[in-house]
């Protein structure tokens, strides 16, 4: 697991526990819907917080094939590496 993916995992764990009040473990093999029991609001909160933290945009097309925490880690890490960060405090 590369460093960027670990950073994403840490952020996913923070969001899921702090923002979504999930008390269980969060591992890359966990299914977002089945294991973490995320509903549409939960998925939206997760996506928005990842976008805010890593200054990226995730689209509906991006979500195709994203089923597990590991899938999401790889997607966000790739996108964060490829998309330049916006200026601090800057809006798109």
């Amino acid at each position: 697991m590369v460093e960027n993916e670990l950073a994403v995992l840490r952020e996913i764990r923070r969001i899921v526990s702090q923002e979504l009040e999930w008390e269980g473990e969060v591992e890359p093999t966990h299914h977002l819907l089945k294991d973490l029991q995320l509903d549409s609001m939960g998925l939206t909160v997760l996506a928005v917080e990842l976008e805010n933290h890593f200054r990226i945009r995730l689209s509906a097309e991006d979500s195709v094939g994203v089923n597990t925490v590991g899938d999401l880690m790889r997607l966000v890490a790739t996108r964060a590496a490829g998309e330049p960060r916006a200026a601090a405090g800057g809006a798109p």
Partner: protein, 359 residues
């Protein structure tokens, strides 16, 4: 089986009126007003705009002109505005409802006032007694906190009262000014969704006891249902700046899981099934809640058309919404003598209230 035996002694819904505040804002105007604020925390604003549009609301009628909201910073400022507009709107809707019923303020024996968007002591219905010149012996029951379920629950509680006082007249007044609860500094996703969904409005139902010679649907029975350990599904966290919304995506899921069981059980106690119900008067909730109702109850495509239209035109008005739908339904003249109807709403608790109507 037919529950209509002795139906003439049951409370009757004599009239329903609705009132909207005068300041209309299209959804894109509201998005425009909030966009800069969202940008202070969020990166992908297009996603938030999509969320606002996904609630399928075209626009809302607001208690105040949209440019006045940024100036309302403290709880006191918001609540003071709420008291003023709630009293004005309440007065207008009561006058219209009593006119429609052919009654005067002096005819009213008991007022049930429901809201979840502001607080006042003396409560709003006390202020209306002075404005409308109601009788000094009129009884008052202000109810705060039932939220979206209060339109149906208020109808049920007023009917309970009229079962004991068969010659009396009761009003149910609902005033909800959701826009005045908006916590601008709360940039959480539930609050952003709420800021896209909820609107302002007031409704008044005139109900009369079975001894009164009135036409209209009778309240045959009511049912309250509480879902255990669901306190964080919907509600307010009361914070220094007012009411911070608690809104879980589990609301549609709960509706899907339980409404069928509860409706079927309630109807069965009266020898009825869903096929016997001709008119469904559903709280507008949001698109997913309405879809859950349709799917769980296997309703025909047009069964909730009025709820969908109300959602689109004015947004979710909390407790007033189901009364708006009821008012539209009565005004249509669609119901025929003998028709059964079910009024239903869900709200904080988490809970549901069902009201069985017969024309």
């Amino acid at each position: 089986m037919n529950s209509a035996s002795g139906q003439d002694s049951l409370p009757v819904i004599r009239a329903v009126e609705r009132m909207l505040p005068p300041h209309y804002a299209r959804q894109d105007q509201i998005i425009g007003a909030l966009r800069e604020l969202w940008a202070t925390r969020h990166y992908n604003l297009e996603r938030l705009e999509d969320l606002h549009r996904s609630v399928r609301v075209d626009g809302r009628f607001l208690a105040l002109p949209i440019e006045r909201y940024p100036g309302l910073v403290t709880f006191q400022q918001r609540n003071d505005a709420w008291i003023q507009v709630a009293t004005d709107l309440g007065e207008q809707v009561v006058r219209k409802a009593l006119d429609r019923a052919g009654l005067t303020p002096q005819d009213v024996d008991h007022v049930f006032f429901v809201t979840v968007t502001g607080i006042a002591t003396p409560s709003i219905e006390a202020r209306l007694m002075n404005r409308l010149g109601m009788r000094p012996d009129m009884k008052r029951t202000p109810i705060f906190g039932l939220g979206c379920v209060a339109g149906a629950a208020g109808t049920a509680r007023a009917s309970d009262y009229l079962r004991a006082w068969k010659g009396h007249t009761a009003l149910l007044i609902s005033v909800e000014l959701c826009s005045l609860t908006l916590q601008r500094e709360d940039l959480s996703i539930p609050n952003i969704i709420a800021s896209g969904l909820f609107g302002d409005g007031a409704a008044c139902v005139v109900l009369r006891g079975g001894e009164c010679p009135d036409a209209g649907p009778r309240v045959v029975a009511t049912r309250s249902v509480m879902y255990p350990n669901t306190e964080r599904i919907m509600g307010w966290d009361v914070v220094d700046t007012g009411f911070k919304v608690v809104l879980s995506a589990k609301v549609p899921q709960l509706a899907r899981e339980f409404i069928r069981r509860d409706v079927d059980g309630f109807l069965a106690e009266h020898g009825l099934t869903r096929e016997d119900v001709k008119h469904w008067v559903a709280h507008t909730g949001g698109p997913k809640v309405l879809q859950s109702f349709e799917e769980a109850l296997e309703l025909p495509p047009e069964a909730l058309a009025r709820s969908w239209a109300s959602l689109r035109e004015v947004g979710n008005l909390s407790s007033a919404s189901v009364l708006f739908v009821l008012g539209e339904m009565l005004e249509s003249g669609e119901a025929r003598p003998g028709d059964w109807g079910v009024m239903m709403a869900m709200g904080p608790g988490f809970c549901a209230e069902l009201v069985l109507l017969r024309w």
